[in-house]
Amino acid sequence: MGEVVVARILFLAIAALGLLAALGTVLSRNLVHAALHLVGFFFCVACLFVMLEAEFLAAVQVLIYIGAVAILLMFGIMLTRNTRGDDATSLSGPWRLPGLVAGLCLFGALVFGINNAVSPSGASPWAGEAARPSLVEREGEPAWAAERRRAVEDMGRVVGEEFLTRYAMAFELAGLLLTAALVGAVALAHRDEVGAAELPPTVEALPADSAEPVGTAAS
């Protein structure tokens, strides 16, 4: 039973650190510090994935959330005027109440969604306690133990198969959403070429004998 106690202590420590990091994200005055706390929180989530024997998901968590999302956040901060990140960025008076209401609504939606999530065995969701089946094959084990063993041993393949069968719809929808966001971002960032072309070309500024750029005439 020693392992169970160690696992529980580890879980509590990681969860506590994660909560602290989350609090730090909300409470820091400096935007870059808040983003750093968020990175710490993502790392704690990755640690929890490792404790659930899903090291593929942990690696993906680090890759996507720390390697991509956090970096994009930093880029976003650098593109604003406030590059030190220490302006007073907290919400001012009249916006505080709507913000609070929106936050509580999101919390309610998440609690409802997690509470009613479909659990594989039909057991009571997340409130009960269940022992993990052994990774070594045994007689009389439930049928899903073999499936779980396969998932633990080669999670990349199992996740891929689930994405293309059971969750194909959600996967494609997420892809569509991201593509739409990408196209939208390009449309926003794209400068109006027509307006630029109507301006008189600055050919006069060039010396008269400057050669025609190679290839422009041909195309």
Partner: protein
């Protein structure tokens, strides 16, 4: 490592990666940590610096370090001592905690990548079933550290360097990851050990047309990932002082230095494992691995051969990087971005399709035969050549058809650049 199952099983069969947490495993992990990660790898880095100075000196018709010890061999020790005892200056306006955290993040990222590299049979620190994803994940932490270094220094050159670094690293990460997909496809596994086993059975990955293209893309993207010339814009001395580590001195600068050379070493190791068959000396034979018969003597012999050849290949890569550094000038930032997004990324995406052709023709039948191999060379080789032609031709057309008024300088003409 179970070579037998990879040789005789189907490619779609995944082997077990379980580890029993016994005392001997703990001892082995402890040895890896103390001997490998705290002793051997930093030592290798120290002598890589010595080697680079010697090689660069030869290229420039100089002698290089030759005062401290025979051939200047103790120069790295002296340099290390110097860095350790140097005063550590932190600017008063810097963000103190983040300023300390940044080099640590970069160094940790460089060390963690080495944890899944199989140096020889059984000589791998850990072998998770998704080792390659782990590798990519931990190496994606280093842009964060570099960014924080530049941001926390409160210096405009640092911030400029950091922005350049992050833009470059994020861009080149994409072709680097995409070029490993063919390897994963052929081996049917993300584990680096399984990838090594696959190459023992089917020949080195770099020796077929899609694999060669992936190998070249991987090499170029990796050189950019470790900020080496010609991709050293983040620390371009002639433009932005020293980029993101302008405000670093003493051992904190030493950590950046260590991380950079460690990155060169680990990238060379990963390229060797993914594309050059790890430590196997002959491309299409299982030569040292098939000598394994379970006895300790054969094990030592095989690992000795594998380790020696592995180091030779890594040394080759490292030398190639020094060579490139001594030869090529720095790239311009717009060409750097163009090269990643307009050449490497389309090539990599096309290459995944070519890799699928090779998989169908050569790997799927179950064993390597000369007939399948010849067919594969034709069926996958032609599309590869055509694909490279297509990408380069399309890019030339695009660059030529570019409006003269473009605000972003393109690979361009003299008239544009002089504006």
């Amino acid at each position: 490592m179970d070579v037998g199952s990879a040789l005789y099983g189907t490619p779609l069969f995944a082997q077990s990666h379980r580890v029993d947490l016994t005392v001997s495993t703990c001892v082995i992990w402890g040895l890896w940590l103390i001997v490998g990660f705290a002793g051997l790898f930093p030592g290798i880095v120290a002598y890589m610096v010595w080697l680079e100075r010697k090689v660069a000196a030869r290229f420039q018709d100089r002698i290089g370090p030759n005062r401290v010890g025979p051939f200047g061999l103790l120069q790295s020790v002296a340099d290390g001592l110097k860095l350790l005892v140097k005063e550590n200056i932190v600017p008063r306006s810097a963000d103190q905690v983040v300023h300390l955290l940044a080099p640590v993040l970069v160094l940790v990222s460089a060390f963690l990548t080495l944890a899944v590299v199989p140096f020889a049979v059984g000589l791998v620190p850990i072998d998770p079933p998704s080792g390659l994803v782990y590798l990519i994940a931990v190496s994606s932490i280093s842009p964060l550290g570099i960014f924080l270094a530049g941001w926390s220094s409160h210096n405009k050159y640092s911030l400029l360097g950091a922005m350049r670094a992050v833009a470059q690293l994020v861009s080149y990460e994409i072709p680097q990851v995409l070029s490993t997909i063919p390897v994963v496809l052929w081996a049917g596994s993300l584990s680096l050990v399984s990838i090594f086993d696959h190459q023992v059975a089917y020949g080195w990955n770099a020796l077929n047309p899609p694999g060669f293209l992936a190998f070249l893309t991987f090499l170029i993207a990796s050189v950019a990932e470790v900020n080496r010339t010609p991709f050293d814009l983040p620390e371009a001395e002639s433009e932005i002082v020293a980029g993101y580590h302008t405000e670093y001195s003493g051992m904190r600068f030493g950590l950046f230095f260590l991380a950079e050379y460690l990155g060169v070493f680990s990238v060379s190791c990963v390229a060797t494992v993914l594309f050059l068959g790890g430590g196997t000396p002959l491309p299409f034979s299982a030569f040292p691995v098939n000598l394994l018969d379970g006895s300790v003597g054969s094990y030592l012999l095989v690992d000795g051969i594998l380790l020696a050849v592995f180091s030779l290949k890594v040394l080759l890569f490292v030398f190639a990087m020094f060579w490139v550094r001594a030869t090529l000038p720095r790239m311009r930032i717009d060409r750097l971005m163009n090269f990643a997004w307009k050449y490497l990324v389309p090539l990599c995406i096309l290459n995944i399709v070519f890799a699928a052709i090779w998989y169908e023709v050569v790997v799927r039948p179950g064993a390597l035969t000369a007939r399948n191999w010849a067919w594969g060379m034709i069926a996958a080789g032609l599309p590869v050549v055509l694909g490279v032609q297509l990408v380069f031709r399309a890019n030339r057309k695009l660059a030529a058809a570019r409006a003269v008024d473009a605000d972003w300088p393109t690979v361009g003409t003299i008239a544009e650049a002089s504006r």
